[in-house]
Symmetry: C2
Subunit: 527 residues, 2 copies
């Protein structure tokens, strides 16, 4: 009789339908659904999926832009104990094919408008999935809407284990291919509570889900809003104009906004055409602050933290634990975090090591990656593959993915530490550290430096600066002076630097890349 | 490898010791402990308890006033997978003896000052517990402090199941004796998150635990404060003077205050002797509001709800779900709530039934009450034994304990409904409804009425008023006019009314009272 203590996503929907009978759950173009209407449609869809053999543990794949049917599909899968795999619709045909073959869904729900070609060609190629492709945005007799309308309307009432997976999100292409992180009902429900506390989400929240729902950042706030019986507004287009229009018309109280979008919104709304005053968000320029309501929630005052898809979003939060010297705040109240050496021993504050964690927010593992999972879960702790430091005051500083850790002799060298040292030289404008393969020492350190305008800094000066400030084995063996560093979106493109300057041989990448074959060496054996 | 997703109270302490190394966890008279110091003392105490044979599932009983050692004992039990039973120290020797015999603790931790006699006599009488009594407030060689100082300081590192019980709180004397509600790590941790969201508890919270810690009301806020790495201030005395002094000296941000205490504090602090400005609390009179900081948290604006010890405090919250017509708000985001008829079928909004619920906050059952548990958990839902109504807008109105439901013929009659009807008569000042045994109809309805001053209202007029306004079978068969109703603390004393006016035969009391013997009739069979 464990159901007594269980709480699954289907249960949250059932309770919201009881407790919020007239409350709007979703708004998507002309479609507006109250919680009872959403529950009714989810029941019908779940019965449609069950007829197509979707059972406990089976995957349902969603490939399409944001839509209320995305949430319906997640909740229908949840009521059956099945798993929703939200695929990135921006992917190439080959990438999408890989995810479909890897996740092996019983049903694929796809979008026709704008995305039809890639998917039609895939559908024809993937014979084993044929017959279970459902188009969600047409009105043919076999479309999503026709099936839902004809579906049996009773709640499937399956007993679902809250520790079972309900989401599979592909992430982290360690070995040149992504892995599907399996997240449980409990992981989502736990994160919902933490996020709703920090972002002050409640039944009056109207969240504009304009960021992609296949990404955990938007999904995290969207699911917390659903859980707390708020209203979700979906849009396919994330243009500044569409965002402004929806905030104005639907009185959205929050949205997923990047700095670029904020700038475009300010520009667009110079004449005050849109009323954005319902939006509670971060402060910005004076004209921004006059348009919106400044968010005084803990998250609004101190956003972000450190996280991964594998922990359903964030593991540490700047908004938790008051001021700290670390760059990533303190751990979620629903997690334990340790910084460990390669043998799993906790390192003292101030020393860098791998972040490992435990708790209900941690994923159940990657789908169908037995040996990678064994490696990631060794010693009973989830190994994030990221480096961090615990500061003396207990706060956490994220440093870098371990994949770029440099191994020189027996020593681990963290590029970020060397970069911080070199960046402190007044003649240096920008700096990136890479590791280059070295027959004797495994790797050696190479610095790629952009000098300050007018500076005539030499490689020797940089090496000498390091010798005086950090342990000698960390100093670069070679320095290259360049005009600019290559960038990918906002960040330095280290892959391009490796390619241009002979980088490679990173032990982190080596062990992670090879960990998915049963003959892979254990991490501690690669040194 | 399930420990990966587990989070137990011991884990919360371990993480707080890592993340808040310099933060004060507890203040109790001259004792001040940081989180690492608390963790160290808890480890030592856990090892002391383990040496005394306390293992998984065993009980440790605390009988004493509020003290930091209460929290230490809870956490030491938690690290061993054992259960803390906090006994009400205000009880009589017989009551305490019952709880000790019923919970059968391996170790009793007791207080000498002010409470020694009762316990000394008990200790001598309870031979089976002898040798495992530890006095926490003396400095003899076998006292708590001496044992902790000598205890092994390593973390016991037991793997503990978060769904196992860690608290046993005696409550609800249905059959003339209380039952020990077993609450799990998960129940506490879940409630911590909800309470901390609504009361805005964080690491800067300094909670004055002046209410009794053996009661879930104070315990709920105290444990949420511990979980979020705030500071707990303990005091044995809950006098207005002591409360004012501690708020002033320790800058407490919250406390457990009843209206009476607030009045005494205002009186005491007329001259502004104490600085109470750190205290965030409910608004009151003008002089109160000038002394304190008005709490603008969701809980501060809209406190209370409906709950029981059996759900680790509150199940519904006025602060959840926005305005509603119900008197008890909406359910916790970590629970499902239904209002059901005696056969477990959900009744429509507007109709009265028993509140049943599910979710991680629900207790594991009563200790050693097999058949009562079977009855309370029938159909996979926890039956609260309380009556409520779901309003049309989804909110909940608590009505009354089922124990006072009246059964007349095949009909259930809820005294509160009849009382509300009679109270609406202008000639009535106060009213109480009881049921009296009736050979033919099981029970019949009797009204005890206090007329308005000067009113000459007759029994016939009252019965006629009911006939016109509610279903005829609900009207009283007899009416007694009295000068005043007996009261116990703030509430009408229905037991005294039953005794004075021949009340009794309530089916709710009958079934609950007899449910603890295996031959007890099922509730649905008692009609």
């Amino acid at each position: 009789m464990n159901a007594l203590h269980d709480l699954c996503l289907g249960d949250v929907l059932r309770e919201n339908a009881r407790s919020y009978p007239a409350h709007l759950a979703t708004i998507c173009a002309e479609h507006r659904l109250t919680y009872p209407q959403l529950d009714d449609r989810v029941n019908r869809l779940a019965n449609v999926l069950a007829e197509r053999d979707v059972a406990r543990g089976d995957r349902v794949l969603w490939t399409g832009q944001n839509c209320h049917r995305f949430l319906e599909t997640l909740l229908a899968a949840a009521k059956l104990g099945a798993v929703l795999c939200p695929a990135n619709w921006r992917q190439s045909t080959d990438e999408l094919r890989f995810i479909i073959e890897d996740s092996f869904p019983k049903v694929v729900i796809f979008q026709s408008e704008g995305l039809g070609d890639v998917q039609t060609s895939l559908k024809e190629n993937l014979a084993r999935c044929s017959g279970s492709w459902i188009c969600h945005d047409t009105d043919t007799p076999d479309s999503y809407e026709a099936l839902v309308a004809a579906g049996e309307n009773s709640d499937p009432c399956q007993q679902v284990d809250p520790s079972s997976a309900v989401l599979e999100i592909y992430t982290g292409a360690f070995a040149g291919r992504p892995n599907g992180a399996l997240l449980s009902h409990t992981a989502i429900i736990s994160q919902d509570l933490v996020i709703s506390t920090l972002q002050r989400i409640n039944s009056e929240t109207i969240f504009l889900a304009n960021g992609p729902l296949f990404h955990v950042a938007t999904l995290m706030s969207a699911l917390a809003t659903f859980h707390l019986a708020g209203t979700l507004v979906f849009t396919r287009r994330s243009s500044a104009e569409e965002i402004c229009r929806l905030i104005d018309v639907e009185h959205c109280t929050s949205a997923f906004l990047m700095p670029n979008t904020m700038r475009e919104m300010i520009e667009l709304n110079r004449n005050g055409r849109y009323d954005l005053s319902s939006l509670r968000t971060f402060p910005g320029s004076k004209s921004w602050n006059e348009m919106v309501t400044i968010d005084d929630s803990p998250w609004g005052r101190d956003p972000a933290g450190y996280g991964q898809t594998e922990v359903m979003g964030l593991l540490t939060f700047n908004a938790i634990g008051g001021p700290g010297t670390g760059t990533s705040g303190r751990p979620s109240p629903l997690a334990q975090v340790r910084i460990v050496d390669p043998d799993g021993r906790e390192v003292p504050p101030g020393e860098t090591g791998e972040i490992v964690c435990r708790g209900p927010i941690v994923m159940n593992g990657y789908h169908d990656r037995e040996s990678l999972n064994a490696q990631r879960y060794r010693g009973g702790w989830y190994h994030t593959g990221d480096l961090a430091r615990r500061e003396e005051d207990g706060s956490i500083s994220f440093i870098a993915p371990m994949m770029r850790m440099i191994k020189s002799g027996a020593e681990n060298i963290y590029p970020a530490e060397v970069e911080a040292c070199i960046a402190s030289h007044p003649g240096v404008k920008e700096i990136a550290i890479i590791g280059v393969p070295d027959r004797k020492w495994t790797q050696s350190v190479k610095a790629i430096v952009v000098p300050q305008d007018g500076s005539e800094i030499t490689p020797e000066e940089i090496i000498e600066h390091c010798r005086r400030n950090i342990a000698s084995y960390k100093k670069p063996r070679s320095v290259v002076i360049v005009d600019a560093l290559p960038r990918k979106e906002f960040a330095i493109d280290y892959d391009a630097l490796d390619e241009a300057h002979g980088g490679g041989g990173y032990p982190g990448i080596g062990s992670l890349a090879s960990s998915d074959t049963s003959a892979a060496p254990r991490r501690s054996e690669t040194s």
